[in-house]
Each structure stands twice: as C-alpha cells, then as structure tokens.
C-alpha cells in the first residue's frame, strides 16, 4: 500500500513568498482588485493570463512527482472545470482534483463533463465533493437548499452520476433528482469513474461520505483529534461495507534547517497588521454553517504577541491563515521533521495528502526533491508495529 501525495494550484492568488503579499504573481491577490497581466514584464498588456502561470505550476508538480493537484474554488477564483479542461493537453500525468458543490450542476451534465474530461486527459480527473458552507454565501452561488438537505442532495447527485456512468439504462426517483432510462453514450461510457475526495465534518456529511467517497478529506487538526476523526470515519463507513481512506490537506514550510523554516514564518508574521491579528484572535464566527470552520476556530490561542505563541505542537504552526486565506494549521520545519510529521499522520490513519506551499512553483520542486523522498508512508506503519 502506498500513499498518494497531491499539490495545490493557487487559484486564490500567489504572492512570491510567505513573507508578504507583494510582489505577487498572476493577476491579483485577495484584497487587490487591480488586474495585472500574468507575466513579470512590468504588469502591462503582455499577452499572458493567469492560466499561463497555473500551467507552469501543474507541470512543476507533475515533474516533481506529485499525483496532481487540488484546484480550489472560491467566489473570487477561477473555476476548476475550466482550468482542468484548458490544461488537459499540456500536462502528462497531472491529475485534476476538481472541487465542486453538487447543487451547481445537473448530475447527468456532470457525468458527461467528467467522462469527457477523462477522455481528454487519459483518466486524470477526480472529484473533491463539497457540500457547502451554507448561510447567505450559499445564495450568492444561487443555491437555496438548507444544510442537512444539501447532504441528501449530494448523496442523490452521486447516485445519479454513478447510475448513468456505465451507460445505463438507469432510472431514479429522488427528492432532488428524477431520471428515466438514462445513461452515458458510447464511448463516454467506457471511462473509469473518478476517485472521490469528500469534504465535510458534520454527521450528515459522514453518512453521505460513507456511501460514495473513496477518500475522506480533512484540514489539519491537532493530531489526537485527527486520530479520533479518522477512527470515526473508518468505523462508520466500514459498517456500511465501503472501504474509505483518509486524506489531509495541509500547508507546509520546509527548509534545510529548522531555524530557516521558522525564520520564514517569523518574517511573514511580522508583516501581519494589527487589525488582521485582532480579527484572527476574536472567537466570532463568520456566519457560515460549516462545522469544519468552527473546529478550526476552536483551536486558536486568544492572545498572540509573537509567531511563537502560535506553535501549538512540535512543528505545527497555527497562524497560516494570517499569511494567506484558508486553513489555520500547517507544518513548519526541516525537511526531515516535515517528513516525520507526515509519517506520523500516516500512522494516525492518513492515506493521502494534499500539500501546498508558497510560491507553489518553486516549492513544488523543493518539496518534491527534498521532502517526498524522506516520507516512508505505509512503510513507517509497519516499522512502528515491529517496534511495538
């Protein structure tokens, strides 16, 4: 058994390091609406667009040995379906992990899209199914279905995508979807069904995941909490007869020495302004119904004077979302220590990782060359058993 390691495509903007938000690559970053062009030739009309830079990262990731990459979708970012199809022809092994909410697409259209993308890429498409944070943000997307109902819809959606996949005929009477004698046409019906990474921390999510997911995907949380979460996921899904694996999405800062890695974080932290820090330490939520987001908030210290106050465990720094959007906790350390923490996560039950570091282009090479060769994966689990 081996583990799969993915990289990330920074749809959400790309500063050139963790140390600050400028200079930045691509045409924007959150909070800056001045559209620039994507090359580095002074920002004028240079004929490039952000996809040219994203293509560079996808190729760096595949050359460096990553499976492929997650292509995050947020209200201000470009869309992964568009990015995947556009990059299909200029990558060789890069697998496109497409996050999307089932409510956004008709399930038969989604099946057709996916089968076509499989054909266009030689089977390199996979899903990250998200069921949505809820609240007003959900209506921004034009989706009016409530939180728990949305998991029912997710389950039904995947029922239909699977049902029509091999050509049918498939009929279905659900609460959200009805189809009659449906099925993909040949040769779309000849493709492999995409692997499904499933996100969501609530009970409703787990029920849905246990029916359709291949991987249960979580952000990094305190290790003991993750062990418990993985146990719960595997237990719940095992009883339903489906073997499900676990995956962790985590940002890392890996350097030749421990000191260099922390110096990088310190420089970034020292540029964070007071207001951002105040918001960070406040315990108020963001109006979202996301259980995962609430779990992240609960792990935060409330007074922070130095980056050191955010070191919550060996090599774990809980201030990543001060440096960039997204999750709080990430791994910081020497190449050896970062690899050790990843192996520890494998021992807790992780079967796959989605890693990321800024800037994604150079760091894909660094992590691929320096960290991945040190990760033992499932081998470390066997070693541990022998010792025990």
């Amino acid at each position: 058994m081996t583990i799969d390691i993915f990289w990330r495509i920074p749809t959400h903007g790309e500063p050139s390091s963790h140390r600050g938000r400028t200079p930045y690559r691509g045409d924007w970053f959150p909070g800056n609406d001045n559209i620039r062009k994507a090359g580095l030739g002074g920002g004028g009309q240079d004929g490039f667009s952000y996809i040219d830079y994203l293509a560079e990262i996808a190729r760096a990731a595949e050359i460096s040995g990553f499976q492929g990459g997650l292509i995050p979708s947020f209200p201000m970012t470009d869309e992964p379906w568009a990015i995947s199809s556009i990059l299909a022809r200029e990558t060789k092994t890069f697998r496109f992990m497409i996050p999307f909410q089932p409510g956004f697409l008709n399930p038969v259209v989604a099946a057709r899209k996916t089968a076509s993308l499989q054909r266009a890429t030689g089977g390199r498409a996979l899903y990250n199914i998200i069921t949505g944070g809820g609240g007003p943000s959900q209506l921004w997307w034009g989706d009016s279905v409530g939180h728990d109902d949305r998991y029912t819809r997710t389950t039904e959606f995947l029922d239909v995508v699977r049902g029509v996949w091999k050509g049918g005929p498939f009929s279905y009477q659900g609460k959200f979807y009805q189809v009659q004698d449906a099925g993909l046409a040949h040769p779309l019906s000849q493709e492999e069904f995409p692997e499904i990474y499933f996100s969501g921390s609530s009970d409703a999510a787990l029920v849905s995941a246990s029916k359709h997911a291949d991987y249960y995907l979580t952000w990094l949380e305190p290790f003991e909490q993750l062990r418990e979460k993985f146990r719960r996921v595997k237990e719940k899904t095992d009883t339903l007869g489906r073997k499900i694996q676990c995956a962790v999405r985590v940002d890392i800062v890996a350097r030749a020495t421990e000191a260099e890695a922390w110096a990088e974080v310190e420089k970034g932290f020292n540029k964070v302004d007071a207001e951002a820090l105040r918001q960070f330490t406040s315990t108020a939520g963001d109006g979202s119904e996301s259980v995962g987001a609430a779990r992240q908030r609960g792990n935060r210290p409330t007074t922070v004077n130095s980056y050191r106050d955010l070191i919550t465990a060996p090599n774990i720094w809980s201030g990543f979302n001060l440096l960039r959007g997204g999750q709080t906790q990430g791994i910081v350390g020497s190449y050896e220590h970062v690899a050790e923490r990843l192996d520890e996560l494998v021992q807790l039950g992780a079967d796959a990782f989605i890693l990321a570091s800024t800037p994604h282009l150079e760091e894909a090479y660094r992590v691929g060359e320096e960290v991945l060769p040190l990760v033992r994966g499932k081998g470390s689990k066997q070693l541990l058993r022998k010792v025990a």
Binding site: A82, V108, R119, S144
Partner: protein
C-alpha cells in the same frame, strides 16, 4: 458590414463523402484490433482518441480563416464545455461557441466558469443556449421540466448569468433561479460578457432573442422564405433598442464544378440511407433539403461549385444574414477547402461593399 463565418465541430463523429459511415477518427476502443493487417506495424497504440482529431479540426478552422467554431450540445458526443476548454490553448483567433441547455445547472456557476474562459482565452468564449429536446430526452438528462417553461428558463438563466457578471450586488428570484447579493468581484469582475446565440422559430423565441441574444440563428431555408423572419427579428430588436445579428445554420458541399458537387451529393444520399432520389431534392437554388445528417443538425445543404456557393451566401447576406454557422463532412478537409476556395472571395466582396458604403 462585417460577416462572421463559423465552422461546426463534428462532436460525435465524422465521415467522408465517399463513405457515409460515422467514424471517430483517432479513436480505438479498448481491446480493439489495430485496423492494419498483421503484416504492418501500428505505432499508435492507445495514445490518441477523438479529442486529438477535434483539436485538428479546430486548428484547421483557425488556420483557414474562420471566425469561430461551434461546439454542439451533442448527447452522443463529448460535453461541449470540456471540448471548448480542451481547444482553447491550441487555437488563437477562433470564437469558441459553446452550446448547452439552461438545464446545465446553476446560472451563477455557468457564468463563473465563463469568466474563467474569458480570462484565459482573451474573451473568445460565446454561448449558444439550445432549447432542449422532447420530454423523454429531458428526463433521461435529469431534467423533468415542463415544455411550456423552457423559454422562461432560458430567459432567467441569461438574466442571472449576465447579472452576476456585470453587477456587484445582484439579487434575483425567479421561477428557476435565485441569487442573493451576488455578483463577481476582483479579478472576475469587469470582463466583457460572452456573446449569446439563440435560435427557434416561434414568436416567443423571437421575443426572447430581441431581449437577450447577440445572434439569432435561423435554420436553412430559401432566401425568400427567410425574409419575413429576418424582418420580424430586426423589428423586435429595434423596438427593444438592441442590435441583433441574424445567423444562418446551413451545411455546404462545395466543389470545383457543379457536376462534381452533385455527384458527391448523390453518392452521399445513396450511402447514408436517405431515399434514393431520381433528381436532387432541391428547395431552392443549390439548396438541397432532407440531405444533412442528424449529426450535423442542419435542415439543408448548399450544393454547388465554389462560385455558386459564394453567390448563394452573398444572397443571404443581402437579405440580412450576418453570421453563418457552416458544416461539411469531413470537417478537417472541408474546412481547408472552404477556407481556400470560398472564404477569400466572399470576404473581399464584402470588404469591397464596405469600402463603397464608407
């Protein structure tokens, strides 16, 4: 007067006039024997499929001077948005007219995907919204919609898609779509919205196009029969204070001489199982009806010499057509033929007219 020429991709298969059977060039099913005999080695293995051929057709259209390609909503073929993305980086000038139904999903999500396409292609994506098929086909596609609602759904879909692309605080509640305080910001704002191609022949369709379309595409018919529709569409658009281009969906079979064209057309009729005809099924000058195949979707085909085809197309232009969506089989070879033998003289004819008008 600027006229656009669009080439339609053969999404689910192509054919040669001397062999009406459908083929997916470059495609081989798993386990299928190579087409060569045992005496000849075949280097291809499973490295290619039909996407590689579609890529060639698109480049052929780009190289031979077309303004765009149309990627059909074709349930027997690959999904149009994926094809469109796949072709985006390999083409330079072509408008990528991507056809789909309003049953596609969320209008906000479609608009957001479209913005990425616009950002990454220099604004080359366009939409053609098709109305949808019969009730059974709709149900096969998880779309239990009532026939009577189809036009309203397209209307709402376009209103929402345009709203979130052009406004920063867009709220809408219709029968099919709902948005609260939507609208794209930052890098996704301020892009030119995609051109909208619509079609249909009912009064309802015309009125929708007058409000929402950039181009209304009519089915092929003799010029005289099209004139009332063209006049009605132009009048309605003028009343709505909008510019509307009228398009024509027609197939072409152009050869050096009329005799060659008729010969190929007759052979194709026989091979493709159409009723054998003692004389060409003409509905107008050079216009053969009941000839185009279901995979092309056109109602008629212009059959004739290069100069005859040029004349017929010019007649449509004079009647008010400003956009031609053309197709021919096989799409690769015929794109070059049309691009080499018909397009240059047609274009210079209109350039001449434009110069005189100025």
């Amino acid at each position: 007067m600027s006229i656009e020429f669009i080439w339609q991709l053969p999404t689910s298969g192509d054919a040669r006039y001397a062999d009406a059977g459908k083929t997916r060039r470059a495609e081989r099913n798993a386990g299928e024997r190579p087409p060569f005999t045992d005496g000849v080695s075949d280097p291809r293995g499973s490295r290619f499929n039909y996407f590689d051929y579609l890529h060639q057709v698109a480049r052929a259209a780009d190289l031979s001077g077309f303004d765009g390609i149309k990627i059909q909503h074709d349930l027997q073929g690959d999904e149009s948005w994926i094809v469109s993305g796949y072709l985006a980086r390999g083409t330079r000038h072509l408008k990528l007219i991507t056809e789909f139904e309003a049953a596609w999903g969320s209008a906000v999500y479609a608009a957001k995907n479209a913005v990425s396409f616009q950002r990454f292609t220099g604004g080359r994506q366009a939409w053609q919204i098709s109305r949808g098929a019969d009730a059974d086909t709709c149900l096969q596609n998880a779309d239990p919609v009532a026939e009577i609602d189809l036009t309203q759904r397209i209307d709402e879909f376009l209103t929402v898609a345009k709203g979130v692309q052009t406004q920063s605080n867009f709220t809408f509640k219709g029968k099919f779509f709902e948005v609260l305080e939507g609208g794209f910001k930052g890098p996704l704002a301020k892009h030119a919205t995609e051109s909208i191609y619509l079609s249909g022949s009912s009064e309802e369709d015309f009125s929708l196009s007058a409000r929402q379309a950039t181009v209304h595409v009519l089915d092929a018919a003799p010029v005289a029969e099209l004139k009332p529709a063209i006049a009605a569409l132009q009048a309605q658009a003028a009343k709505a204070g909008r510019a509307l281009t009228i398009g024509l969906r027609v197939d072409v079979l152009a050869r050096e001489t009329n005799e060659e064209a008729v010969h190929d057309a007759q052979r194709y009729l026989e091979q493709s199982g159409h009723l054998a005809a003692s004389k060409p099924p003409l509905s107008g000058a050079n216009l053969w009806s009941s000839f185009a195949t279901t995979r092309s979707g056109a109602l008629a085909t212009l059959v004739g010499s290069y100069t005859q085809i040029e004349e017929r197309l010019a007649e449509y232009v004079h009647a008010g057509i400003g956009s031609f969506i053309l197709a021919a089989e096989p799409a690769l070879e015929e794109a070059y033929r049309f691009g080499e033998h018909v397009l240059p003289s047609l274009r210079s004819r209109f350039a001449e007219a434009q110069r005189k008008a100025a």
